[in-house]
Chain length 476, copies 2
Amino acid sequence: MQTLNKKTMAITKPSIPKGTRDFGSTEMINRNYIFSAIRSVFRKYGYKPIETPAFENLSTLNGKYGEEGDRLIFKILNSGDFLPYLLENFSEGKTSAQFAKHISEKALRYDLTVPFARYVVMHQHEISFPFKRYQIQPVWRADRPQKGRYREFYQCDVDVIGSNSLLNELELIQLTIDIFKKLNISVVIKINNRKILEGFAESLGLMDKFNDFTSILDKFDKITIQETKNELHNKAFADNEIHKIVEVLKNMRQLDSNTKKIDYVKEFCKTSEIGLKGIIEIETIFDYIKSLPVEYSGYLTSGQIEFDFSLARGLNYYTGAIFEVKARNVTMGSISGGGRYDDLTGIFGLPNVSGVGISFGADRIYDVLNELNLFPKNTGVTSQLLFVNLGAVEEKYCLALAAEARIHGINTELFPHTAKLKKQLDYANANHIPYVAIVGTDEMSSNLITVKNMQSGEQMEMNIKKLIELVKGKLF
Amino acid sequence: MQTLNKKTMAITKPSIPKGTRDFGSTEMINRNYIFSAIRSVFRKYGYKPIETPAFENLSTLNGKYGEEGDRLIFKILNSGDFLPYLLENFSEGKTSAQFAKHISEKALRYDLTVPFARYVVMHQHEISFPFKRYQIQPVWRADRPQKGRYREFYQCDVDVIGSNSLLNELELIQLTIDIFKKLNISVVIKINNRKILEGFAESLGLMDKFNDFTSILDKFDKITIQETKNELHNKAFADNEIHKIVEVLKNMRQLDSNTKKIDYVKEFCKTSEIGLKGIIEIETIFDYIKSLPVEYSGYLTSGQIEFDFSLARGLNYYTGAIFEVKARNVTMGSISGGGRYDDLTGIFGLPNVSGVGISFGADRIYDVLNELNLFPKNTGVTSQLLFVNLGAVEEKYCLALAAEARIHGINTELFPHTAKLKKQLDYANANHIPYVAIVGTDEMSSNLITVKNMQSGEQMEMNIKKLIELVKGKLF
């Protein structure tokens, strides 16, 4: 017997890169259920689809996601010779990261927002503004993989660019409501405004520590008061600052309605011009929502639209509204988020174009639907009918029958080779095929088909016309 | 005035990597028209969707596409430090290519077939064979970009694995017919068999030059007899070999029916066991086709299914049937191709599993539909109705109307800010929105809406109920 060469075996044993996934047909069909729901609502509001390449020039992406983001961008090796450059330019103390940009000019899409900004600038003369677009594509991040965090995942983004009207914010809230209603997920939509956060920081005299301030605020829901204090302390906030911040947070926690929260913030920010601007924006949006049919305005009364003063989200480019959506009845991070950005295309040479958008995380929505058992049944079904194959004569006879069933819109298979009936029925079961057509010598001479209902086990004889009606659910 | 700093400008001026494309909404909708047609036929035959990650381990892809292919695989730079390895292991004469695999462990998908083989081996215990799958995803190749050839393009693959029945070949032909019928593209489906090519080579005593022989044969349609002779000469074929090959090719050209061609080949290969096997396979497939309804068998009588003895296609892994589809009435390479491979999963440790598949080239199909003007009209329409925005009171009034139109299934926009009517009508025109609803003071007091048909220019007053019927095409 041959000795296995472990080294050779290791080379050929198949695996996939960590943080990536294969999707089988059930997952695919469930994912498409999500994408279709999202897409149909996007279109109902007049958003148009675009797609951008999987990789961009590295210069398009570099520096847009902060230092951490730059590290997590997947870079593509140039096809040409990289050694000569390395050898010529190497000197003691230089790092791999410094060389990466010289041997790599392209990188995988890290999100959909920066490519969208690049797209808008490149195509500005073909676009009629306001430009409403949606984009559903995978993105890649060299993050450490963990539960619910992948290196390849889909984003579903919807943005409108070239209009600073708050009607756009309203529309994004409406379509968010529609999408999750369509998916039967009960959600809370949290809204804040960057300007209010700035007003707060201004009132507290903390504008010089704005980023630290908001990033700790953002965690407020997840950590205790004591942990908040510790974090503020670690970030070198003074004791009196810590005291003031914690007081505000504690007070806010007591307020149980959007109106009370807004009033508190209004009082607090009364000396901050930018803060008051933010409050007017929030009030206008809430006012719009109240004027909508109860399908939407009801979310205010039920507390499912919530002004959340601590909401900041990671990205620094938000300048106005900030959104976040959480699913109720399940422990899960946000399943959707977004906001307004006033200066995104500026980095590519088109200043003063305001945009607002929201991104739906398909993978987390998948997990929510899975956990709450909300995927529709039977979406796993591909074929509705299987003709078994009992021999050379029978298979030829069945070919025409199968073709006829397909012409009538039925997804139909003919088992590709002769095999034991049991094996073929097992195949039908494994593939969730509800009806099996059995045609042998008797059936061929009587011009009838024996049909087995795989769920009930019942068998009946009928002609092809009746069979087609049966499978289409029109017989009984 | 500020002087432009050209260097800074160059950094921020946006572009995309060569060989890649952005897709705007019209292209997206046309592309989805193609994908939907293909997908619906795949499903009608019981194929199930899967998806694999955009990048695979480099070891999964390397060596599977020949030397040329290896060069064209896009490699992803490892995130860690690559310099130490390079510096330690560099010595005079080593090339970048030799180092690439040490600083890159992942690579972008080059086709869908190898990832599929990897998938089957990894998931063999969850799969019930025969496994019928389809996969519609982009692939990436570092090819020199040229007209119709991109570095990122979509493949639509359908394969059945774990069955060597020729019914599978038949089914692929059937679904090819269905797909192109659905797309209104008139096609010729060419069929050959690797075994027949081997029989030919055997009869001519050319088995030692099999690859050169078939690759020259494959070009036979595109080059003259003299060019064929030159190529054979360059590949070191002997004069008597060249003479024999050219005789055969000339003879084959004279034969004007599949039957005559098969008879000729049969006579020629009568001493080759493998050749005769191939002929039986072709005959069986043709026999199957004849037993199908005229929708399919008619393709034989019309000459749209053609035995093409010169068909070889590039890939060496085909072991039986070889397919290629060409569009009629347009000059274009093949728009679809495939074949049987007996040993694809063997490279990943699962031997003796036979598969057969066909791949549809979405980009070329797109070009064909475009050139023949076959895309359906109006697929570019996203919104069906635009409410113009004439002021703060009006927009609030329209919000509820727009919501109602959407609830009734109409894709509806409300212009997001107040602007001159002309500007808003221009927006409707630019976005091909067929109806515009105008609501001002008069309309609000009369509870009616002025509706403008953007094609005819006609205007009418009606209530929201009538407007919804109008847009849905139910009024006249």
